[in-house]
């Protein structure tokens, strides 16, 4: 009966029985995920309500291009939104819960019963600087949050918090992030997510592809997170809505199974030629993965001295565009009882090898506009008992990409990390049941993620549309409480 609840939660009939009997069994909402490669119009047929703000035209354009029907919260916004949506022949309408309608509602609290479900709510809070303006977030979201569909999305677009801003302004911007984390916990029950999209001054043009991904089913397990878009990395390729990695070469370490395998598959599905790196012991699995996606294999231990050179030789003169440092190990023991070998092994694979291989590739093989992606972990953010070595190595990568980003930005290269939370893999299946179940429950979405969720996040960060994101660590954790 190990994961009975998990199985129960995905069974429609079981869910209705539990619901009808009002049993005190928490059944997490199955998340809507996307199968296959990126679609031209992932939001086809979906309604998205957009608030007024400086970025209205850009937001509406991105939504219309993705196939969504845009609803604005005020008739005064129609002209601007319509002009933007017209490019993709999408009509724009005024949302039923518009300001006029809600002020007519005496209580102003309950959402209109006749208003329809919406896939997403997008609040443009980039102009918010005062507590009075902050109230507009409440006015926009409160009547509508109940109308959010299962696996819906809330995205708040804001400016970055900065100690150089006026204290009041900085307070308001910080408030938005706090509000979003709370909303994530409220809407998580229905599989919906809430995230903040922070857009730096001058990086507005890099916002649309990130918004698009946050509204896509591909970001299903990303919630309560901030994603920051800046103009730090020099411009490189222009974004593509389908096959974003067409013609690119990607390197994935630890590609034989789990997240590495899912990542190799996701990158290949978006058009990349993938070179799968794993140890000689996993030759059969690695070959299978590579063969299925038309990639190639380099059998190597990432810690071996000659591995960087062997990788560069395998890449050939074309070089590489995307490097995913996924290979990682655990050797858990509380610190006092941890052997030096356990410390050295974990730091060697998870950190030293990453630095050495990246340095070697940066000397020439990594092309301008490229991507360095590291697999960090929520364990590196929160720290886990018995994982001093592992937590150290995973925290290290957060600092590594932060500093690396500045160094490679002039070449248009971005460096980012992903911090997975509880992901259903061979590694987590070995955790004792009660702890495992706690790992799933202690998250806004009340469940574990899939390797594909991490792979999709990596494919997105690898895409040209993520040029604005660098030096960041993105949690793919379902809104886990740990370390948040």
């Amino acid at each position: 009966m190990n994961d009975l609840l998990l199985a129960l939660g995905t069974n429609r009939r079981a869910r209705s029985v539990v619901g009808a009997l009002k049993l005190p069994i928490p059944l997490p909402e199955p998340l809507a995920r996307a199968a296959g490669p990126w679609e031209a119009r992932p939001l086809e047929g979906e309604s998205v309500v957009v608030s007024g703000g400086p970025l209205l035209a850009a937001i509406t354009g991105a939504l219309a291009e993705a196939g969504a029907t845009v609803l604005v919260d005020d008739a005064a916004l129609l002209a601007t939104a319509r002009a933007a949506a017209e490019a993709y022949a999408r009509p724009v309408r005024v949302d039923a819960d518009s300001r006029g309608a809600s002020s007519a509602n005496a209580s102003g609290l309950a959402s209109s019963a006749n208003a329809s479900r919406v896939h997403a709510l997008v609040l443009d809070a980039t102009a918010f600087e005062t507590v009075e303006q902050l109230r507009a977030a409440y006015v926009f979201l409160s009547p509508r949050v109940g109308r959010l569909a299962r696996s819906g999305r809330v995205v708040v677009i804001a400016r970055a918090c900065a100690s150089t801003a006026s204290p009041a302004t900085n307070a308001v911007r910080t408030a938005l992030a706090g509000m979003v984390r709370a909303i994530a916990k409220e809407v998580g029950r229905k599989g919906a997510t809430a995230n903040t999209l922070i857009v730096a001054e001058g990086a507005e043009a890099r916002m649309p592809p990130v918004l698009r991904w946050l509204l896509d089913r591909r970001s299903a397990f990303v919630t309560a997170q901030p994603l920051t878009v800046t103009a730090r990395a020099a411009a490189a390729r222009s974004p593509a809505v389908v096959r974003p990695l067409d013609g690119q070469v990607a390197l994935v370490t630890g590609a034989a199974r789990g997240i590495g395998k899912a990542t190799a598959q996701a990158l290949a599905a978006e058009g990349a030629r993938v070179i799968c790196v794993d140890r000689a012991e996993d030759s059969a699995e690695t070959s299978q993965v590579a063969q299925a996606i038309g990639g190639s294999v380099v059998l190597a231990d990432v810690t071996a001295a000659d591995t960087p050179q062997r990788i560069i030789d395998a890449l050939g003169p074309r070089g590489v565009d995307i490097v995913v440092h996924n290979a990682g190990i655990t050797r858990d023991k509380t610190l006092g009882r941890m052997s030096p070998e356990a410390w050295d092994a974990v730091l060697g694979v998870n950190l030293a090898a990453v630095i050495r291989i990246t340095d070697a590739l940066l000397a020439g093989a990594l092309r301008d506009g490229g991507r360095v992606l590291c697999l960090s972990s929520v364990s590196g953010i929160a720290g886990n008992v018995g994982q001093a070595n592992y937590s150290a190595s995973k925290a290290a990568l957060i600092g590594y990409v932060d500093a690396l980003a500045a160094q490679v930005a002039p070449r248009g290269i971005t460096a980012n990390a992903i911090a997975p939370g509880f992901i259903e893999t061979r590694m987590t299946a070995a955790i004792p049941l009660m702890i495992r179940e706690a790992g799933r429950r202690l998250a806004a979405l009340g469940q574990g993620g899939q390797p594909e969720d991490v792979a999709q996040a990596l494919a997105f960060l690898a895409s040209p549309g993520a040029q604005g994101i660098t030096g960041a660590t993105l949690r793919v954790c379902g809104g886990a409480l740990i370390g948040a």
Partner: protein, 432 residues
């Protein structure tokens, strides 16, 4: 391809001729696509008094190609008794097939491959082959092609599935990739571009009125030939034009593709039988033979869009591309001729061309391609009134616009055609 370059050989339209266009399964039911094509081509050569030996090649467009002889152009040439040395090919680009034939012939002339070419297209929807389901073909082909034993027949019967899958399917114009019937695609576009039923009916009415006026004034006499349909009966003119229709009558028609829809039989092009042929020559050859060319083919363009998105928006991208290649703007054009698959589609395309937002997102330019003055658009009616024999329409449009430029002594006309598969086609004609 299809660019303007004054130093190179120019392909000119010497003349064009078409059969009357009639509703499918009416007067032309006994004429197949070969007979229709031959009728148009024979009349064209007779009217221009061209010696058959001058014809070097035939490029023909068709959509419903006969399985037994898909190279329709060659069959027409042989049926007519053109010299066997006149080569021939048949092309298909859905509803843009006729224009494709004309531009291929123009390309051959520009490249110096030929001086005299016939280009055109025809389709007989009345003679579409009803297809057997593949399951039957796969089951019985081994029997037909081998030396079967009795047991093989029994085995073949065993391979057949449920009876419902064995009934020959009614042919319909559905996209292979999306399964959507073209009218449904047009209906979705009308919703997205917020095109009203009334606007569609108004465009349809204008199409009928202008076509009827062209017929009444004798304007089409030089480009439509009478056709004998057997036992001495002749069809003299187009059968679908309703000059006396009205907005009231059109408004009464029921939506054809969805209950709440706006597309009706009245504001869509009907299934039609017919053929059209164009005589193209190099400019020098035309003059040497004593012809006064009507117009030159100045440029053309073909593009593709995602059929699952806006199937019929293609002309909004092809028209600016052809205009760019010609080095002219939409405002420079004296006439705009858009194939009317559906009134809704024409209105979507004109709205897109007038949209700066569309131009920025889809064409990468800051300003809209331009507004189209209704007085310049489809001045002699379009496919809604005249009908739309798929392969013939492009050649019909080239003929009508070439005649229009010559008769009115105007300079430029641009043509736009949408086609199944999400294709768009356009061409620019200029007065010689």
């Amino acid at each position: 391809m299809g660019t303007s370059n004054s130093s190179k050989r120019r392909a000119v339209v010497v003349g064009g001729m078409r059969t009357p266009f009639v509703k499918a399964f009416t007067d032309f039911t006994r004429l197949d696509t070969f007979a229709l094509g031959a009728a148009a081509t024979r009349a064209l050569l007779a009217r221009l008094d061209l010696a058959y030996r001058e014809v070097e090649g035939v490029v023909w467009g068709g959509v419903i190609l006969p399985g037994g002889a898909p190279n329709v152009g060659r069959e027409i040439a042989l049926d007519l008794g053109l010299p066997p040395s006149a080569e021939a090919m048949t092309v298909t680009r859905a509803c843009a097939s006729g224009l494709q034939a004309v531009t291929l012939a123009a390309a051959a002339i520009e490249r110096g491959e030929a001086d005299v070419m016939i280009a055109g297209g025809s389709d007989s929807t009345s003679n579409a082959e009803v297809k057997l389901p593949q399951q039957i073909i796969h089951a019985f082909a081994p029997l037909a092609l081998g030396k079967p034993a009795v047991s093989d027949y029994v085995a073949a019967l065993g391979k057949l599935g449920p009876i419902g899958q064995l009934i020959p399917r009614q042919p319909k114009i559905a996209e292979r990739t999306t399964g959507e019937v073209m009218g449904e695609s047009a209906e979705r576009m009308a919703t997205r571009w917020e095109i009203t039923r009334q606007a569609q009916d108004e465009l349809a009415l204008r199409s009928h009125q202008r076509a009827a006026a062209a017929i009444a004034s004798g304007r089409f006499a030089s480009e439509v030939t009478k056709v004998e349909v057997g036992d001495g009966t002749w069809v003299h003119g187009d059968g679908l034009v309703r000059g006396d229709t009205s907005l009231e009558r059109l408004a009464k028609l029921r939506p054809a593709f969805s209950k709440e829809g706006t597309i009706t039989a009245g504001n869509a092009s009907p299934l039609t039988d017919g053929a059209a042929a164009v005589l193209l020559m190099s400019e020098d050859k035309a003059r040497a033979l004593g012809y006064r060319p009507l117009a030159a083919i100045r440029s053309w363009a073909y593009i593709g869009v995602d059929p699952a998105d806006q199937l019929l928006i293609g002309p909004a991208l092809a028209v600016p591309k052809a205009l760019d290649r010609a080095g002219v703007t939409l405002a420079d054009c004296d006439y705009v001729d858009l194939h009317e698959a559906f009134a809704a589609q024409v209105l979507c395309v004109t709205k897109a061309l007038a949209s700066a937002s569309f131009a920025r997102a889809r064409l990468g330019r800051e300003t809209a391609v331009g507004e189209i003055d209704p007085a310049k658009l489809n001045v002699r009616g379009g496919s809604i009134a005249l009908g739309h024999p798929f392969g013939a329409t492009g050649a019909r449009m080239v003929t009508t616009m070439a005649n229009e430029l010559a008769a009115s002594n105007k300079q430029l006309a641009v043509l736009g055609i949408c086609a199944a598969g999400g294709l768009g086609a356009a061409a620019v004609l200029e007065r010689v």
